[in-house]
């Protein structure tokens, strides 16, 4: 036990260790942040194509979206990461960060598109019909009626997806990137503290705090959006 406290003190008083942890944490946040943005934008685009009214112009885009989400969701994230690193972006000096962001962003897009698609489809058809019957355009109906209602259904699942991405980025240590997970392993290794327990639990706390903060934020947004549901 005494040893344990010793290790805690050692970790938090050795500037190199703190530095490593923070560097790792920063990389985790960077990859997650940009991946989530890409995932959201591309995911929204895919969802819009998939839920758009049937037309001959959209047959091929719809097909591509289907194939894309099927492949991404049907193969392991770690394998997708390897393919990005060792095949598609196996270019000398190509920035690792961009490769990782793309790998996670493109992966997240497939899941996000399903979340958004589900959210859009969950809006009662009668809401669209009311708009149509009044002579409103499909665009107006989407932006004024469907989207605001879909968002309410989307936010909780989207929060979940954000959390998933953040934690999943831990596998970048498999391609040698120095993220929070890798930092914990490095600090705990034989050349450094020679004990994994404290750095790994510390890393866990970092992840946990981040996820907690996001959950807290998402709950707040949910609550705000639910104001039109209040009855009586």
């Amino acid at each position: 036990m005494e040893d344990f406290f010793q290790k805690i003190i050692e970790l938090f008083t050795t500037p190199e260790y703190i530095d490593s942890l923070l560097h790792g944490f920063l990389l985790t946040l960077e990859i997650s942040f940009f991946a989530i943005i890409i995932g959201f934008l591309l995911g929204t685009l895919i969802a819009l194509i998939e839920t758009a009214k049937k037309s001959k112009w959209l047959v091929i885009p719809k097909f591509i979206c289907r194939v894309y989400t099927t492949i991404i969701r049907g193969t392991p994230m770690a394998l997708q990461l390897f393919i990005m690193f060792f095949i598609i972006f196996a270019i000398r000096d190509f920035p690792e960060l961009i490769t990782a962001v793309l790998a996670f962003g493109l992966n997240s897009a497939a899941y996000t598109s399903e979340i958004i698609r589900g959210g859009i489809l969950s809006v009662d058809k009668g809401q669209t019909e009311a708009g149509l019957a009044l002579g409103l355009s499909r665009q107006t109906i989407f932006w004024k009626i469907v989207a605001p209602q879909a968002i309410k259904n989307i936010i909780p699942a989207l929060g979940n997806e954000i959390i998933t991405v953040i934690k999943e980025t831990a596998i970048v240590s498999m391609v040698g990137m120095y993220d929070l997970n890798m930092a914990a392993k490095d600090i705990g290794s034989g050349q450094n503290m020679a004990s994994y327990i404290v750095p790994m639990f510390t890393a866990a706390l970092f992840y946990l705090a981040t996820v907690y903060l996001i959950t807290f934020f998402v709950r707040g947004v949910e609550k705000k959006l639910r104001k039109s549901d209040i009855t009586g």
Binding site: G126, A130, L132, L134, G135, K144, I145, Q149, D229, T231
Partner: protein, 243 residues
């Protein structure tokens, strides 16, 4: 009154996959007419109504609004003039009552925001729901929702109002309020097509009754003739069951 045709429907057909819901409907509607559509459930009454403003795409046939053939290209302009009231009200749940009323007329540039709000307030006051202007639909009772839905359609100053079973989702107490409002519109000369199961109301309000069975109009006439001297056995059987 001059017999001004508002709607002319020729050989309207609608299939859902292999199921033939409407099998050739011919129908004319003149200004000021109040047509009640009766028929057993699944006979195609609602589909008939929904084909008129193209919430369902007809499989065959022609629908003319005045002299204009309704097509996918001009349907939006037509819909401004063809109001619809739904069984399940379909008030926009993320918008307040006031926003429900003003959204379309303002978006479609029929009125300014101020004009629309004034008109909305007048109509709300008229139905006794002015204090609900800033409430969300979820806080209204069924009858209140339906009355707001009716004045939402009226905001557009339509030439026809289509009612798709407007009281079927209501508790008995609210039905009276909603029917009273429809009756009032009828008395003011509104042209109406209404699908309903309220026989008493049908008898009282209709200038013409049409009976649809298996996707065809099998009988039509004045309420008096229809209820007192039904011609076809199918209608006689129907009336025996419901009256």
């Amino acid at each position: 009154m001059v017999d001004e045709k508002i709607l002319t429907i020729k050989n309207l057909k609608k299939n859902f996959k292999k199921h033939r819901v409407l099998r050739g409907i011919d129908f004319e509607l003149s200004k000021g007419e109040r047509v009640v559509v009766l028929g057993p459930s699944g006979s195609g009454k609602s589909t008939f109504l929904r084909c008129i403003n193209r919430l369902e795409e007809p499989s065959a046939g022609e629908i003319y609004f005045h002299d204009n053939l309704i097509t996918d290209k001009n349907i939006r302009a037509m819909r401004e003039k063809i109001g619809m009231v739904f069984q399940h009200f379909n008030l926009i749940s993320n918008l307040t009552v006031m926003e429900n009323l003003t959204l379309a007329p303002v978006k479609l540039k029929l009125m300014s925001q101020e004009e629309a709000e004034k008109k909305a307030r007048d109509l709300l006051r008229h139905i006794g729901l002015l204090e609900k202007a800033d409430a969300f639909p979820a806080s209204l009772s069924g009858g209140q929702k339906q009355r707001v839905a009716i004045i939402r359609a009226m905001m557009m100053e339509p030439e026809i109002l289509l009612f798709d079973e407007p009281t079927s989702a209501l508790d008995p107490e609210s039905i009276g309020d909603v029917l009273a409002l429809i009756r009032e519109l009828a008395d003011k000369g509104m042209t109406i097509i209404i699908v309903t199961h309220e026989m008493g109301f049908a008898k009282e309000i209709a200038s013409k009754i049409i009976f649809i069975d298996e996707g065809k109009i099998i009988e039509e006439g004045t309420p008096k003739d229809f209820f007192n001297h039904p011609k076809t056995p199918r209608v006689q059987e129907f009336l025996e069951k419901v009256l």
